[in-house]
């Protein structure tokens, strides 16, 4: 195996969406038998670029060569014919099929022989160290198992070049380590692995070389052995960034919100929260960690009055009067009528927190439009608020009349967080507030949360990046399959501690 032979060469690739250049004039080479990280902030064009290699998009201009030959990849099938396989961030599996059925699905020129297929799957798994149950149905699988199925599916079709889009976003630290081991085995077998990511420590741990994109442009490729976090960040962001999140000591924390033994059922009638109890205190940030879908969403929605609670109590202690209110079974309007200043930045920004087709002013009005007796809308205050948020949080927008769905992810989030803290809350809940945001926007959000904490707000922060949780939060509560598996001190706990708690219930067999 010649180590330096190019597997994929990109020359002058460009892609526009409307007027926006997603990728402009990108050229680089991926070598055979290496793990290459494509690093860049959200919105830098990593996924777009890889989608062009895997046949989802077609470049506006430029040339792709595979194994030294100029090719034209017009569909995912073309990509497969060239032995390129991509594992997308959102899995494309059929829930009611078993692992084996999903793997053989869509292979046309082969006899449907599930037994032979299973043998082949087993040998593939043994070769690289996967663990897979061929007969298990996809809907019974954990996220990491589904990911394994996706990878095996691609290998089964004989892919020699694998592209993985943010594969660790949904995994625990332990699962990530397992995945990395498998990927190294594949490299040692001569496969080419491209991994899209924005997490620096993963890049440094796993890859041989790193290609960096910034705002659709190719910045350069460096050997991982010569890189460190600050070099990579500078390449990614274009300037030096201080990567420390400040964390002040909580000042006179008081109990603000006490949740006692709440139980909730999900839409399908399954129990989604069991006996959840915790206390959020003023002047501190309480982090919530867990594999996505472990009940974080339902927990916040239960507190906000959007999710029916079967049993238990949600007690709010009013800081002015010291009065005690039970928020359970109250609608958002009733909660506000009690004088509870509860703000909520939901996970689904454009599907819940904001209305995408409406402009910034109308979105500001969501919280306040009912004020006053007039049957007509009062636009003056929301317009001022919109202008203030644009100025203070540096929202990049043509004007206040632009529909928020046209803004970039970071700016959408600034609008939403800005509106939620404008009502000077006493409790602020934020679910994945930095998901999809670039480094600078993320730090703006962290600072906003910290400022709220200093103002004595009880902040509840649901996060996915454990490094951030450990740096930002005073206490970290870990949720696993709808149960609280532990509450740790943010100053003393390690990622591994949290990771173990994240899967605790599953290991012991969920009840």
């Amino acid at each position: 195996m010649s180590e330096k032979a190019p597997a994929i060469q990109l020359r002058g690739i460009s892609k526009h969406f409307g007027k926006v250049a997603a990728i402009s004039d990108v050229s680089f080479t991926v070598n055979r038998g290496e793990i290459l990280s494509v690093l860049g902030e959200n919105g830098s064009g990593k996924t777009t670029l890889m989608n062009m290699i895997s046949g989802i998009y077609f470049p506006d201009s430029g040339q792709i060569s595979v194994e030294g030959k100029e090719v034209s990849i017009r569909s995912p099938k073309d990509a497969f014919d060239l032995n390129i396989g991509m594992i997308h961030q959102h899995f494309k599996l059929i829930d009611v099929f078993s692992a084996a059925e999903n793997i053989v699905l869509g292979i046309a020129d082969e006899q449907y022989d599930l037994k032979a297929a299973k043998d082949k799957i087993r040998s593939t798994c043994d070769k690289y160290g996967f663990v897979i149950e061929a007969d298990k149905k996809v809907y019974q699988m954990s996220v990491s198992e589904k990911q394994t199925v996706e990878i095996v599916k691609v290998l089964y079709r004989g892919a020699s070049i694998l592209i993985l889009d943010e594969p660790t976003a949904v995994l625990t630290p332990q699962e990530t380590r397992q995945l990395f081991k498998v990927l190294r085995n594949m490299r040692d077998d001569g496969k080419t692995v491209i991994i899209i990511t924005h997490k620096l420590h993963e890049v440094l741990e796993l890859s041989d070389r790193v290609a960096v994109l910034r705002k659709g442009e190719y910045i350069g490729t460096i050997e991982t052995s010569q890189a460190n976090e600050s070099i990579l960040t500078e390449m990614m962001v274009g300037k030096k960034v201080v990567l420390n999140i400040e964390r002040s000591e909580p000042e006179n924390p008081e109990d603000r919100l006490i949740v006692e033994n709440i139980n909730c059922l999900g839409r399908d009638g399954r129990r989604i929260l069991s006996e959840v109890s915790f206390c959020a205190r003023s002047g501190e940030i309480l982090g919530i960690a867990g594999i996505s879908g472990s009940g974080q969403r339902e927990l916040l929605e239960a507190i906000a009055g959007l999710q029916k609670v079967e049993s238990g109590k949600i007690v709010y202690i009013n800081p002015q009067t010291g009065g005690i209110d039970n928020l359970r079974d109250k609608t958002p309007v009733q909660i506000r009528a009690l004088g509870v200043r509860l703000s909520f930045v939901p996970e689904d920004r454009l599907g819940m927190g904001l209305v995408g087709s409406m402009d910034i002013i109308d979105n500001m009005m969501l919280r306040s439009y009912k004020k006053g007796k007039s049957v007509f809308l009062q636009k003056k205050e929301p317009r001022n608020l919109a202008q203030r948020i644009i100025n203070e949080l540096e929202v990049v927008t043509p004007d206040v009349k632009t529909p928020v769905s046209r803004l970039s992810g970071g700016n959408v989030q600034k609008v939403l967080v800005g509106r939620e803290i404008s009502s000077s809350p006493t409790v602020l809940m934020a679910a994945y507030p930095v998901r999809g945001l670039d480094i600078n926007s993320s730090y703006i959000i962290y600072n906003l949360l910290n400022r709220q904490k200093k103002n004595g707000v009880a902040v509840i922060f649901v996060g996915e990046d454990l490094d951030v949780l450990i740096e930002l939060c005073d206490r970290i509560m870990v949720i696993s399959s709808g149960r609280i598996s532990g509450i740790l001190d943010g100053r003393t706990s390690s990622k591994e501690d949290i990771g173990l708690l994240m899967t605790k219930e599953q290991r012991g067999g969920a009840v």
């Binding site: 077609f58 034209s72 017009r74 906000a304 939901p346 209305v355 009912k370």
Partner: protein
Amino acid sequence: MKNRETMHEPLIRISKKDSMQWYKSWAVRTAAIALALILCAFVIILLTGYSPIEVYKAVFAGSFGSERKVWLTFQKVAMLLCISLAVTPAFKMRFWNIGAEGQVLAGALATSACMIYLGSKLPPAALIPIMAAASIAAGLIWCFIPAFFKANFKTNETLFTLMMNYVAVQAVAYCIILWENPKGSNSVGIINPSSHFGWLPSLFNQKYLLNILIVFSVTVAMYIYLKYSKHGYEISVVGESENTAKYIGINVKKVILRTAALSGAICGLAGFLLVSGTDHTISTTTAGGQGFTAIIVSWLAKFNPIVMMLTSFLLIFLERGAGEIATVFRLNQSISEILSGIILFFIIGSEFFINYTVSFRKKNHKEGKK
């Protein structure tokens, strides 16, 4: 495997466009109509041998040929517009009310009943308001029933409102037999033909003027309601995202019921105007399919009541023109429907070119060889 030595680009690629300036998008629409007329001209020559210019003149004459025709055109525009205004708030809320037809009939039925049973007993000053109120109530109830089931039991409003149409048609059919006049005609005939009890009065000797003015004021009111009122804002939020509505504490159930009631009420009003102000009789075809045409009017205008004045005019203009050429040239009605179809196809198709760019394969790929 296939020959991959040379670069093959797909022949046609489609990509989303940024928003267009308003004058450019109107230029595209005008061009679409011009192209449609040219294509129609070929169709006319090929299928009939008549001069397209003469045919187009006849189309124009269909709407504007005489003073009477002009009034009739505006009357028809007003009625279609009224029903379109009715479905608009519901559609904006993503409540697919395809039962306007039945709601109009329910209103028409209430009006007719009032004219027949109360016509001679009450003075016009009392009769007309009672008729209006009864028909509005009837339309409202007809739409409220499906909305109630949707809000409480999550039934499908599309099917429900559609089925309510058939119920309304059968109810009218029953009443026609009940009110048959003269016996054996299988129709109700003109109600109160000599006394004119319950007939909407003429303004300035124009039979339809009052209808037109009423619909015009409803149009303006609906525009203001949707754009500037708190209710209108709630309709938009519920329509765009029910989750957002719940999140900010809008009572979604209440908004659905209220908006559906409004939608039905305006349909009821349309039924009142059709019977009391226009036909002075009732039949199962009083609504005449306008409950469905109204959906096209509303969508074409993107739920903007002011633009709906234009789109409803366009549809009526085409319909009346089609009727005219059918009689003048003794053509089968189908040819005019083909022409209307072509024109509508181009107008709707032009929206695609306003929202998307189509690029063709470049002859020689310069970029690739840079």
